[in-house]
């Protein structure tokens, strides 16, 4: 592997790990929001308004921040009996097919969500009513943005597999 490719892989690994850590702590924050709501509701008759809106949008955020690292680590769920039985070249072919279809799927998510994201910013789309309103545009943007990061990570893996620089071991 040349130095440029190694540096790029290292950069991608580090960046996706940071996103993954942010995502994991975001999940922990959800517990705090629920607790605030429960204690407020049961003890002081003052629930935390907007719990469901914040939590719902957070789940999408948590997933899309974690996905690049999951892809990079090769942690997507799969069956392994054929994968483990074939030659290293066979495993490269199977992984390359996964990466290619992954690129297509995330491109579909990006193109499918693009117009809705633009409209959401233009119209100031909100969720919730009355005392608590959550803007929707950020979460739509997050899907498109980190969908694009997933495409880039898959493209990098595909490039490395195609060049023979990434030979997957049996899972």
């Amino acid at each position: 592997m040349d130095a440029g490719a190694a540096a790029s892989r290292d950069f991608v690994t580090r960046s996706t790990n940071i996103l993954s850590t942010v995502s994991a702590f975001w999940a922990l924050l959800l517990a705090a929001i629920f607790l605030w709501d429960i204690v407020g509701r049961e003890a002081f008759d003052q629930p935390f308004l907007g719990t469901h809106e914040i939590v719902g949008n957070s789940i999408v955020g948590i997933l899309f921040l974690e996905l690049p690292s999951t892809i990079k680590r090769g942690a997507m769920l799969r069956t392994v009996f054929v994968f483990n039985a074939v030659s290293p070249l066979g495993r490269r072919v199977i992984d390359s097919a996964s990466y290619t279809l992954g690129i297509v799927l995330f491109l579909a998510i990006i193109f499918g969500g693009w117009d809705a994201m633009i409209v959401s910013w233009e119209t100031g789309e909100i969720e919730g009513a009355g005392a608590f309103e959550v803007p929707i545009a950020p979460v739509r943007t997050l899907i498109v943005l980190f969908g694009a990061v997933c495409v880039l990570v898959y493209a990098q893996l595909l490039f490395l597999a195609a060049c023979g620089r990434l030979t997957p071991r049996p899972a």
């Binding site: 995502s23 994991a24 997933l63 999951t70």
Partner: protein
Amino acid sequence: MLAPDLVLIVILAALIALVVAGLHIGIVLGIVSLVGTWLLFGDLTITLELANQSAYAVLRNSVFAAIPLFVLMGEFMSKSGMAADLYRIADYFLRRLPGRLAVATVFGNAVFAAVTGVSIASAMTFSRVAYPEMRRFGYDRSYALGSIAGSASLGMLIPPSVLLIVWGIVIEHSIGKLFLAGFIPGIILALLMGVYCVVRAAARPALAPAPTGRDDKPPTGRETVSGLGVVVLILLVLGGLFVGLFTPSESAAVGCAGAIFFAGIKGLGWRGWREAVIEAGKTIAPIMFLLMTAAMYAKFLALGNIIQIIQDLIAGLGLTGFWVTVLMIAIWLAMGTLIDSISIILLTVPIFWPLAEAAGWDPYAFAIFGILAIEAGLLTPPFGLLVYTVKGAVPDPSVTLKDIFSGSIPYWLLMLVVMAVVWLWPVTATVLTR
């Protein structure tokens, strides 16, 4: 545009071929659903809208928060060593029984199952703690390993359970009631497993020699804190849920906070804390991604009226409800040997549940029946996931997969027995849901 029945054949064939070949299951689910939708309607806008809706709308429901929070709770409990302490407490109180260390493994797993939502963490912990202890006192290797792998399956049946949450999301029924439905069959299975350990050890004492010269000390202060912690967490999480104080997501949040509190008391430092959160993140994302793409698959099935086509096919074959159920069991047991449990639920339940409903199944009894069949698959060759987990975690490289598989067979049979109980007497699962 193609006829829906032709699209069904093409898509199901592609789905099976690509999953078996080892492509990422979530990616395959998403792609075949999008391609299937495009073949049905010949319209790229509808296809892209399916991708957009699944990514944006499906997961934005607070019920999904229960999954990351229960996983976080389990990670904190594992990292703080509470499962190991539970094992030692169970061992002390069961000290007069034959095969006490194996029975302690089963009951330790059963109690730990009531505070965690996944099987793998239990299998890893008990492999590291219970196996060396059983071997130290001369327990038969296969008998010891079977008790660890077999009883780990209780984690998915006794609430809270991530599998039951996923099942509830797929069939759009109450997750709280599904948890209640798992309770009695879970207790029955745990008791049967415990009885098996005792009877086997009593019949062949060489399998599990009574520990001699062992100083049975009562639980230490540290172990007592763990035991109390687990009791408090069970009361908070399941009690709060069952009396209607919390939703499933809220009870997961309370459990998560409780686990962090007890982990702090037991001295889990910042390093362990950070590891627990990051490890949980790694478990959460593949599950949530599968849920997202499975939503594409479910919508594709609905758009193409695929369920009706399959129901017509079954009716054309003249299969009765009994044989439909037998067919489903066979498919689940076969898939269970190859694919992880959540993928199996997401692939099969959208199709199986309407068939089961038509065959007269109660939704809650059917869920428990299905979870048992899928979990049984995790113990069977060639690729029982729990067996591989135990193999990877036991601190003894001489252990073979054959040792674990052969020790697990009785537990697999006991799971089939409980399946038969739920099938013949669905009331065992439904009585608490009424």
